[in-house]
Assembly symmetry: C2
Homo-oligomer: 457 residues x 2
Amino acid sequence: MAPQRRIDVVLDSVKRLLRIGATANLLNLLQKQHPADLAQVFGSLLDNERQAVFSILVERSGRLAMETVSEMGPEEGAKLLTGRSAEEIAKLLQEIPSDDAAALIDYLPEELSAEVLELMRRRESGQVESLLEYGEQTAGRIMNPQVFALSEDLTVGEAITALQSSRDVEMVFYLYVVDGRRHLVGVTSLRRLLLVSPETPLKRIMTPEVTSVRVDTDQEEVARQVASYNLLAVPVVDEENKLVGIVTVDDVIDVIKDEASEDLLRLAGVSGDERIATPAGESLRKRLPWLAINLGTAFVAASVVALFEGTIQQVTALAIFMPIVAGMGGNAATQTLTVIVRALALGELSWETARKALMKEAVVGLGNGVVLGIVAAGIAWIFKGEPMLGMLLGMAMIVNMFVAATAGTLVPLGLKAMKIDPALASSVFITTFTDVVGFASFLGLATVFLRYLVKVQ
Amino acid sequence: MAPQRRIDVVLDSVKRLLRIGATANLLNLLQKQHPADLAQVFGSLLDNERQAVFSILVERSGRLAMETVSEMGPEEGAKLLTGRSAEEIAKLLQEIPSDDAAALIDYLPEELSAEVLELMRRRESGQVESLLEYGEQTAGRIMNPQVFALSEDLTVGEAITALQSSRDVEMVFYLYVVDGRRHLVGVTSLRRLLLVSPETPLKRIMTPEVTSVRVDTDQEEVARQVASYNLLAVPVVDEENKLVGIVTVDDVIDVIKDEASEDLLRLAGVSGDERIATPAGESLRKRLPWLAINLGTAFVAASVVALFEGTIQQVTALAIFMPIVAGMGGNAATQTLTVIVRALALGELSWETARKALMKEAVVGLGNGVVLGIVAAGIAWIFKGEPMLGMLLGMAMIVNMFVAATAGTLVPLGLKAMKIDPALASSVFITTFTDVVGFASFLGLATVFLRYLVKVQ
């Protein structure tokens, strides 16, 4: 059965069993599912159903319940926990790795999260707290502090024994080797251990060059390294090169997805962390400032039109065609902008290639402008029976699409140089810019050639 | 040194050494770099420099040269190979895994690729050819056919011996177990082999449930499974459940990045495979149809304005404010559209949640419309000293932003239901729609209330 189809079937059964109160059957069904699938099922339940199912599940299997909560992502997951007591939450959080626990705590209401942290500290978990001390979106924040490391003084045989007795360690595929003060000094693999005799010193078979990141490395840079060197995990060290954690490839996949979403949303003038499940009130509050800024810029564009009110009064037909000039420039700019922002995000742009990109975009903008400008001129001529009007429309389109392509390249590059996220050069802003240039060039040209236009009208 | 900074230094040195003809030093420098870093350096070289450096590198180390080519991606990589003879290309392609080779061959000019395939077939590589027989963007196309598998009849001791003598196998962390006819029957791990005595039959310690995908599974679905179940690799089976390959997490990361880029670019009306390095002519050809379609729709919007030419003639001030109504609707629609498209891409939307999302977006659209409509009305009043004009502007904005939010939700959902990529509901189209609604509502209202407007003017 296709996976999405299977999840829909589980979802239907969960709803039905919940409705008829068949708790035992419901539990039976839930316990057969992978936490990732359960998270998807939870995502499609109504709020009250979700709470009810979670309460039933948490009674029987705190671990599965909490793994599901982790898979839902910290924001949604924290919502599901918020109704419960601090004691209960603190106990439940011990079921999952401390990086996931830290992420959840971060999204709990402030008072509750302080209480939970206090309770966890009393028990054992200094780990969770120390994770929360690292800056947001850093390697320290997303790493798992439980990393398996071997002392450089061991033999291969001793290393295998150590490995056999360790349990519950997240994915042991790279074996990091540390010195007496836990400085990272090398790496080897399980497979290599099997290829040599047990007496071989670990030092002899380890690779001394290890790609590592620091606790304060930006998570995007961590993702870039794991992705470009095809790593399964990368060790995290502190300022003194001491091994303090590990970031695994599954965390990196989450980072890559989040960063892609962020760019996409920011380009559209939406805050990078908005999701489909964000409540209406919060969405409104988050989007309003962007729209308000744009309203301001729209009035700027409007005042450009106002400058030429006299011209429009004499040739009303200008009002019909002016949105075409502005709109086509906006679309051309959005195309360019998106290609550039994506290239920046993927690290494909250096200063050298940026220069080439600018030349190219200018050529493409001019080319599209000439082709479409001529077409538009023809249509306007036929439409209004007036060649001069068509010619002005075509000329304004060529100017605007050329300027749009240039601005669509330079604005994100400029923001990048100023260390501002280039995706913030959202189409919202660039569109206003092309509106201004479009109106000014079209109406400006019309004003210059006004006597030819008025004559024919 | 920060990685990007380090690459820039390498880049400068490469350019300098090439210019002064210090081939030995150049080779020395190149051989110290990771292929992924070299790929970045190559990406920033001018075309002639790139060819020159590649020629120098390929003489000394065909493997490193080809690994670099692989890391550049198939499109760019194939360009670098195209100048060479089919014999040479066929020989070089044997240096890299057959999935990477297949991807490169796919991008060679048709005649050359046929010749290369013919030469490779004569030697050994039926594998590359058979990979190319699978549909594009399927598991079969991106898998590595060299997958390490153990027979279910082995003992743990025999399995370890088999592992020790295998070499050059891509990342052995899951050990897949097959029966006599190579049907996939189970999975175990290197670590588990170490925990039991060598005489234990493999059958006893393997997990019989293995998550697998079929050769014809869409690559996006493969990525979804690897990501949501936190796998490092997934085995690929044919119609009879025979093990034929493996997709590893590093390939999945590439898929995730490509799919995210595709959505982002399509939303902006750019073809999903356009990159910064796409030549100007090709970019122009690819973007022109989108812009042409939009020119058509822009004329539709213009003809709406034309319907009200008489009204504009009497109250020219309408021409000043009409772009504001249209523009704000366009921005609100783009915000909604992006949130919905991203949710669809991440599989966060079921029919149940879609209904909730529609309600929410309608509320947000209306809310933003009311707030900004009132503000705009006030500004227009002050600007033009005419309360009636402001009121019409405000009312039209409320209508348009509400309609924009509803359309921004329904259009991508509708496309999804029709099995069309929802990202194709690019802002290009939705913006035209909001233009039409914006012009019609503002100018329509103005026509109805014309006598109040004319009186004050």
